[in-house]
């Protein structure tokens, strides 16, 4: 059986990639993608600990499903924001969205 730590490494790597994406990419959609990666990295952790801990307790799985639901809602809101921003500003580059800068 694959040791638990492998899953944790995978999850850490995935999280780091997602974080890098969020911090370094300029495209708002790519930033959203990065957030998704981080959420799913968390999911891998939850499911891995559930599987290697006590499988009869469903908490890890249930949490992962809640994260799915939250992620789906977040993408729906995020993408619709991106679309409405695109409509009014003709860009999805995060740096050009600087209305708040004084």
């Amino acid at each position: 059986m694959i040791p638990l730590s492998w899953y944790l490494y995978l999850s850490a790597v995935l999280f780091a990639i997602g974080l890098y994406g969020v911090l370094a990419r300029k495209n708002a959609i790519a930033i959203l993608l990065g957030i998704e990666l981080m959420l799913n990295a968390a999911n891998i952790n939850l499911v891995a600990f559930w599987r290697y801990g006590d499988p009869a307790l469903m908490a890890g799985q249930v949490f992962a499903i809640i994260v799915f639901a939250v992620a789906a809602a977040e993408v729906a809101v995020g993408l619709s924001l991106v679309i409405s921003i695109y409509r009014s500003r003709k860009t999805v580059v995060a740096d050009e969205l600087d209305l708040m800068k004084w």
């Binding site: 969020v22 911090l23 499988p55």
Partner: protein
């Protein structure tokens, strides 16, 4: 290879083809269609191997091919998924593999592979034709190749994957997965020419309407899972204990047993998918897709999936059936089926679009099958499902061929006002398109149930015989009248399209289609005739017993209790002979002398009924008035009253309150105390201004700079906690 391994592999080639085409070969039309057709051929080959292995096994119903794996962990247990081919699965696989393979081949010709690029074709619109100059310097307009050719094959391949998944799966959950994949592909294919508003609307309509059914189906699945703890076919439908306990558990809904309630909920999914009344509205509009191909998907494969599912859950629906009379659930199913059969047949009488006639005829024929299931005629329904798939596929592909030929005529004359799908613009195509004519005639006769030779006769006769033997007089009468109308409108279609004289210039210049389109027609017409012979009742006068009633014995093995064949009787046979031949003759007599510009001969005798039928019983208007309008109204009420009034109102209140508080602080604290006292009088102004200026550099207005700050602080706090707290 063990059959089980092969069954796992059957759905894979189309899926791979989808990804290959989408990701890599999108640019090359030839490569894309080679991959698509090749994948369909591979799946077809696998299906044939499985089918012939299956029919070679004695008592196959007891020794089916099945294999499963653990899929979804649920606590300490697993939800299993797997594949299985039982007798019903084997015959379904047979017709699905043939029709899908034929669609792929046909699409190559239909989407004009090998023709030049169009003059001003754009992706999202049907090809408009290309101008070419021949060696004499004459200019011709010819058909042009579809701009999104590769994309079309990708969608078709994904569709084929969904259908194969549905057929080979051994449980209702993966069936539902395949079901939904097809729902998506049907949306994509109906809206394939997304440049046309009508196609876009039709795609959305199809998706939304079937969704209504799917929600109920999902409820049914959830209920079934909570009642039995499994969704596996064998564990539920081939297990008398489970069926018995479901049949004896009562539910508070309408006095139904659990089996009946779950059966009905699942059946609502079928109402959506198989376009039964009252959710039939999407199917005729689905004809907006690329002419015959998506139409044929909506005739031969996908809508069959709905009926296939009801055949699957048949043991559940009939769990509390004693064999006499009908249970509530069965009467509902029988009513919906019989009503749809006659309702759609009446509409088909008054349609002029060659594809719409076939669309309504599909709805009507599916109604026949549903009605048969409702009255417990398991084998008859399965038989009609298979034969119908063959001859309706043939008819749809034939109509596509006709339209293709007519488009050729339209390009020749250059008169784009002529609708190549309107049957009143056709006539006399018999000599122009002989292969299409003869195959279409075979398909049409099979649909009308032309006696003895065609497959449609044997399967339809069996449904009528069953209704007679079990004394369901209303159903018998309804279906007989529907069958009469079927024969009538089929002959109307054949006469208007192929017989008589051409009614337009375009029809005179119509042209036979290329071999990639005619070959599928010929292959399917063989089945439209030959498949009936495997199910001839044993006691049929003269022919019975010459060929054993293989279909009955084989498919009957799917159930625990083999259904008994019904007694032979002359009465239903006479009925089916009279309605088929009578309808065909009437149709020919009424329409044989129609000239260009004539009104429909039915218009006068039917009077006010004619516009009623032509407008499809005003169902679209009814829905837009009683469903869509109230929905829009409610959402407007909620937007204006709830969202903009209450929720925004609360937020605006908070905003105003904050503004007010800010004002107070500004005027009575900030200005006098901070600005004047500390800033000016004490001189802090000189320190704060440069500090503010320096700090304002960190306010870049860029979200990512702030995020980096947040991450840095988070890491710092984490490090501090790690070092000092643990």
């Amino acid at each position: 290879m063990a059959p089980e391994t092969l069954i796992w592999l059957i759905p894979l080639p189309p899926l791979l083809a989808f990804f290959l085409i989408v990701l890599f070969t999108n640019k090359s039309k030839a490569l894309s269609h080679t991959i698509g057709v090749g994948a369909a051929a591979l799946s077809w080959l696998g299906s044939m191997v499985i089918f012939f292995q299956a029919i070679g096994v004695d008592h196959f119903g007891e020794k089916i091919f099945k294999s499963s794996i653990n899929w979804l962990p649920t606590g300490t247990d697993f939800l299993k998924i797997g594949v299985q081919i039982d007798p019903l699965g084997a015959v379904t696989l047979f017709f699905v593999a043939w029709t899908i393979f034929m669609i792929f081949l046909y699409s190559v010709g239909y989407q004009n592979f090998g023709q030049p690029k169009g003059d001003h074709d754009r992706p999202g619109l049907p090809p408009h034709g290309a101008t070419v100059t021949d060696e004499h310097g004459h200019k011709h307009t010819v058909l042009s190749v579809e701009p999104m050719y590769s994309r079309f094959f990708a969608f078709l391949a994904l569709f084929a994957f969904g259908m194969y998944v549905l057929v080979v799966s051994d449980n209702l959950l993966t069936l539902f997965v395949g079901w939904e994949i097809m729902g998506l592909c049907s949306y994509l294919l109906i809206g394939f020419w997304y440049g046309k508003p009508s196609a876009r609307n039709a795609a959305v309509k199809a998706f939304m309407t079937t969704r209504v059914g799917d929600v109920f189906m999902l409820l049914g699945l959830a209920l079934l899972y909570s009642a039995t703890g499994t969704l596996n076919y064998r564990a539920i439908f081939y297990n008398e204990e489970v069926l018995h306990s479901l049949a004896t558990t009562m539910t508070p809904v309408l006095g139904l047993s659990a089996a009946g309630l779950i059966g009905l909920l699942l059946f609502i999914g079928t109402i959506g998918k198989s376009a039964q009344w009252p959710l039939h509205v999407w199917l005729p509009d689905a004809m907006e897709g690329p002419t015959p191909v998506s139409a044929m998907i909506h005739a031969a494969t996908m809508v069959s999936a709905g009926v296939y599912m009801v055949i699957r859950i048949f043991p559940l629906v009939t769990a509390d059936w004693t064999g006499h009379g009908l249970t509530t659930a069965m009467s509902v199913i029988a009513f919906i089926g019989a009503f749809t059969a006659i309702f759609a047949a009446t509409i088909a009488l008054a349609q002029n679009d060659i594809k719409r006639v076939l669309a309504y005829s599909t709805i009507s024929q599916l109604g026949f099958m549903i009605a048969a299931l409702g009255m417990g005629a398991y084998i008859a329904a399965a038989f009609h499902l298979v034969t119908h798939a063959f001859f309706k596929a043939l008819l749809f592909l034939g109509s596509g061929s006709v339209i293709h030929g007519m488009e050729h005529g339209v390009l020749h004359t250059g008169n784009h006002k002529v609708d190549p799908q309107d049957m009143w613009n056709m006539g006399g195509l018999k000599n122009k398109m002989p292969i299409t004519f003869w195959t279409f005639l075979i398909g049409g006769l099979a649909l009308s149930g032309f006696p003895l030779v065609t497959a449609g006769f044997w399967s339809k006769d069996e449904i009528l015989a069953d209704a007679f033997a079990h004394e369901h007089w209303t159903i018998l009468a309804t279906l007989s009248i529907a069958a009469l109308m079927t024969a009538f409108y089929t002959m109307r279609q054949i006469t208007l399209t192929f017989l008589g004289q051409p009614r337009t210039k375009e029809a005179e210049h119509a042209h036979e289609t290329p071999w990639t389109m005619t070959t599928p027609l010929v292959v399917l017409s063989v089945f439209a005739v030959g498949f009936g012979w495997v199910g001839i009742p044993e006691h049929f006068p003269g022919l019975g017993g010459l060929i054993p009633n293989w279909f009955h014995d084989f498919v009957g093995g799917t159930l625990i209790k083999h259904p008994k064949p019904v007694e032979f009787s002359w009465i239903p046979l006479t009925i089916s002979l009279v309605v088929a031949l009578g309808g065909l003759t009437l149709g020919w007599l009424v329409y044989k002398d129609v000239k260009a510009g004539d009104a429909d001969p039915l218009e006068k005798p039917l009077g006010f009924l004619y516009p009623f039928l032509k407008n499809k019983w005003y169902f679209d208007e009814f829905y837009s008035y009683f469903v869509i309008k109230p929905m829009t109204w409610i959402s407007e009420v909620f937007t204006k009253g709830m969202d903009q009034g209450v929720i925004d109102g609360i937020l605006h209140f908070f905003a105003r309150a904050a503004l007010f508080i800010g004002h107070v602080f500004r005027n009575y604290f900030d200005k006098p105390v901070i600005n004047e006292l500390i800033g000016d009088k004490l001189g802090a102004y000189w320190t704060f201004q440069p500090a503010g200026r320096a700090l304002s550099k960190t306010q870049t207005g860029r979200i990512q700079t702030y995020l980096i700050g947040a991450v840095a602080v988070f890491v710092a706090i984490g490090a501090a906690l790690y070092l000092f707290a643990f």
